[in-house]
């Protein structure tokens, strides 16, 4: 009856824990393994201008809108005394800084952190454009343009192949007379793209400019690169304006779509905008966290990542304690090991995290051995229990201080971390060990002490496992699974391993 109840409860807990975990992995993309790092690009646009003193200043900068293939991890605007608003009309996004009165050189920053993310939400489909208006090319260019269009048209089947054909011919390294004529007055990349769009429009194909920012690590004074997009009846297809290749370059962000200026400054002169790009890696979990938050996931509202970093670090340690506790449950109820104090080894193992295993074992042994020696002297004084415990506690703290000082003087930094041992637990360990020593002899006491230390070392090895630490912190719902295991072990009525030895006489019969 109880067993069935416990089993049902355990199955329920496991199901809840694992399904939350599954959801987080598959939908929110939280990484199961701690080693996964995400590539994060930091892009900064620096706007510089000299303000006119007479009129209010208004700066409009086009900024990226949910760039495809990337997750915006963070975005910020540095604008001291300017008022800031951002606008989003569905296709374009702009940041607008305004200030009524200012003077001198002004510098404004826009900074965005992007993480590469194959699972990022694709941009919503965009509206079909108005029919291409045939532009007025200068009289001299019209025959050349017409010839080029005819040529491209005759060698293509649809909008995409026509566009590719036209752009390839226009970019030919060894251009014919028509193309040379069309190209000869073009100076900037923008004019180049403008001319190509005009030609495409002449062929009845709607096209537009987009501005890309190439993500190249270490770029300092970069600029945007114009690119061409052609509407093929279903959506916008990107084309390289310099080769006719139908693709966006690798590692780039669409900064702005359409013709409008990237930067528009009213009330300023000597306007300049520069882009810098740098790349670094960041914990995948943090990135996924941001993405999930952008997706508006309710679950992430309750994520431990939303806590202050200091508290996060506390929980990184605390969440490991149940794993240690489970180990203790197994060792005590399935194996049958006896330790001083139920969870003493877990607390000692937590202290080992700071001292590391080897030094932890040495320091623990030293403190307990010295404490025991003094405890035996106290026994001779015939003190009452509570004062004696208090005395042992005080002595343990003094021992720890002395060890810290000595090791510090000797330059052994690890030794200093003895201060992190749970001193009350140490004092109780010494007290109980001395009682066992008196009542059951030194052998039994040392055996149990050694057993406790072994369990603590095991717990430390388990709890310092990177994967486990990552799993419980990123997926705290897995603690429900641990809880289920504990409940099940709570109804375990099989023999303990040590009982097989204890009842060996019965086996012999």
């Amino acid at each position: 009856m109880h067993s069935l109840h416990v089993k049902v409860l355990a199955v329920l807990l496991v199901a809840i824990g694992l399904s939350f975990c599954y959801y987080k992995v598959t939908r929110l993309g939280l990484p199961l393994l701690p080693t996964e790092d995400a590539e994060v690009w930091t892009v900064e646009a620096r706007i510089e201008f000299k303000a006119r003193t007479t009129i209010p200043v208004k700066v409009q900068l086009a900024i990226p809108k949910s760039p495809a293939g990337y997750t915006v991890v963070d975005e910020n605007f540095v604008s001291s005394n300017y008022g800031l608003t951002t606008e989003d009309d569905g296709v374009h996004r702009t940041a607008m800084w305004t200030v009524r009165r200012t003077k001198g050189y002004q510098v404004l920053y826009y900074r965005i952190h992007l993480a590469r993310d194959p699972m990022a939400v694709p941009a919503p489909p965009q509206l079909a454009p108005a029919p291409a208006t045939v532009p007025e090319l200068p009289e001299v260019l019209r025959p050349a343009a017409q010839a080029l269009l005819d040529e491209a048209k005759s060698k293509s089947a649809d909008v995409v192949s026509f566009s590719r054909e036209l752009l390839t011919r226009f970019n030919d390294a060894d251009p014919d007379a028509n193309v040379s004529l069309l190209r000869q007055d073009l100076q900037t990349p923008h004019e180049w793209v403008r001319r190509e769009i005009d030609l495409l429009a002449g062929g009845g194909v709607p096209a537009r400019t987009i501005h890309l920012l190439m993500l190249r690590d270490g770029v300092r004074h970069g600029d945007l690169t114009p690119w061409i997009e052609v509407y093929d009846g279903h959506g916008w297809q990107p084309f390289n304006p310099r080769s006719g290749e139908a693709a966006l370059p690798k590692d780039c962000v669409v900064w702005q779509v359409g013709e409008g200026p990237v930067l528009d400054v009213q009330g300023g002169r000597f306007v300049k905008v520069e882009y810098s790009v740098s790349r670094h890696t960041q914990d995948m979990a943090v990135v996924a966290e941001h993405r999930a938050r952008q997706m508006g996931s309710r679950i992430m509202e309750f994520s431990l990542f939303s806590l202050p970093v200091q508290t996060q670090n506390v929980y990184r340690v605390l969440l490991l304690a149940p794993i240690g506790a489970l180990l203790i449950v197994i060792l005590r109820n399935v194996v049958g090991v006896n330790t001083f104090g139920t969870f003493m080894p877990v607390l000692i193992a937590l202290a080992f995290r700071e001292t590391k295993l080897q030094w932890g074992l040495i320091l623990f042994t030293v403190v307990v051995a010295l404490g025991l020696a003094i405890r035996f002297y106290l026994e001779y004084l015939k003190l009452l229990l509570v004062p004696r415990l208090a005395a042992v506690l005080t002595i343990v703290i003094m021992l720890m201080a002395v060890i810290s000082l000595l090791t510090h003087k000797l330059g052994i930094d690890r030794g200093v971390s003895v201060a992190l041992f749970p001193m009350v637990i140490m004092a109780m360990t010494i007290e109980r060990m001395s009682l066992v020593w008196e009542e059951f002899g030194a052998r039994e006491a040392i055996q149990q002490g050694f057993g406790s230390l072994t369990v603590a070392a095991l717990a430390f090895l388990l709890m310092s496992d990177k994967l486990l630490g990552h799993l419980v912190f990123v997926f705290p719902e897995l603690l429900l699974v641990i809880l289920a295991a504990m409940l099940l072990l709570g109804r375990y009525t099989g023999y303990r391993l040590t009982e097989l030895w204890r009842f060996r006489a019965a086996l012999r019969g």
Partner: protein, 325 residues
């Protein structure tokens, strides 16, 4: 010897019906022993009061030391008694029990032969009061009681201290018993984990058979060298009904009852234990499970003591095929 026993020892133990610690806790102690009744057995003073009120013979209580202040009056307190036992009311595992004989002029002799004065006795009582021997280190009180003068029937097989009879009683029916004999190693104490010898007792007639010491089978007492088997325990039926009555008294379903036999007063109930140890199975060369399961299946246990004693004997009879004399 069957090699399979060693390959799958767990299965073999299950076949033998050996009760393990986990199963004892999960299937017997937790369901049958109500937490609220624990203080009745954990506090020996309450057990004693309860038993005395119900007319169950217990070693008479001389005095109770409850506060530190009383330690100063120890001399007048102990004056009338040439022999006595000091024990913690909440002790466990026989720890903190001193058997003391007054040798006159403020000197006392312990069961171990050690000579002590009032100072040591006072310190020992203070330790008891401060909770050194109590479960969880809670403040405790010290009982000073009658020193049992043991029936000479066990003299040949005990070393110092006193032998007692531990019976496990389930749902008011005795299921298994063993005689616990102190040894030099156990320091006069009758607890198996301290080194006492456990001897299986046939529930049907009160005769001892094979013993166990330090988890190993044993035939001769390690100190006296006399055979521990084939000893007839006196007052056997009285002991069985005493244990059954004790079980009713504290309303615990699964208890160990410790009984000593006084030369003059006969069987006296010493204490009870709500978490009885499992070594009794080794001493009896039999598992508890077959007997416990029979009782577990019973809809209703007969209310009368004599019926329960005969039920205990029937169950023992049906499950004692493992007994080897």
């Amino acid at each position: 010897m069957n090699w399979r026993h060693w390959l799958m020892p767990g299965r073999r133990l299950r076949e033998l019906g050996i009760l393990g610690m986990n199963q004892r806790n999960a299937d017997f102690i937790l369901p049958y022993n109500a937490r609220a009744r624990y203080p009745l057995v954990d506090d020996k003073r309450r057990t004693k009061d309860l038993a005395a009120a119900a007319g169950i013979a217990v070693p008479p209580l001389y005095a109770v030391v409850e506060i530190e202040h009383q330690v100063e009056e120890l001399e007048t307190l102990l004056e009338p008694y040439p022999e006595f036992v000091i024990k913690p009311a909440h002790g466990a595992g026989g720890e903190g029990i001193w058997v003391v004989a007054n040798t006159g002029s403020g000197r006392f002799r312990l069961a171990s032969g050690e000579q002590v004065g009032f100072d040591e006795l006072g310190y020992h009582i203070s330790s008891i009061l401060s909770g050194l021997y109590s479960l969880g280190g809670l403040p405790d009180c010290a009982l000073i009681e009658y020193r049992v003068r043991f029936d000479p029937v066990f003299d040949a097989v005990s070393y110092q201290g006193g032998p007692d009879i531990r019976t496990i009683v389930f749902r008011g029916v005795p299921v298994m018993a063993m005689l616990r004999l102190p040894t030099r190693e156990s320091g006069g104490k009758a607890n198996l984990h301290q080194g006492a010898v456990g001897v299986g007792v046939d529930l049907r007639d009160g005769q001892t058979f094979s013993g166990v010491w330090r988890d190993k089978p044993l035939h001769l007492h390690p100190d006296t060298g006399n055979a521990v088997s084939r000893i007839q325990i006196p007052h056997w039926d009285e002991i069985l009904s005493l244990t059954a009555r004790c079980c009713d008294l504290v309303e615990l379903g699964f208890v160990g009852v410790d009984i000593v036999i006084d030369r003059d007063a006969g069987p006296l109930m010493l204490e009870m234990n709500a978490r009885p140890g499992l070594s009794i199975q080794l001493a009896n060369k039999a598992g508890l499970l077959p007997r416990l399961n029979r009782l577990r299946r019973l809809q209703r246990v007969p209310p009368s003591i004599s019926e329960r004693v005969s039920l205990a004997k029937r169950i023992a009879d049906a499950t004692s095929e493992l007994r080897t004399d």
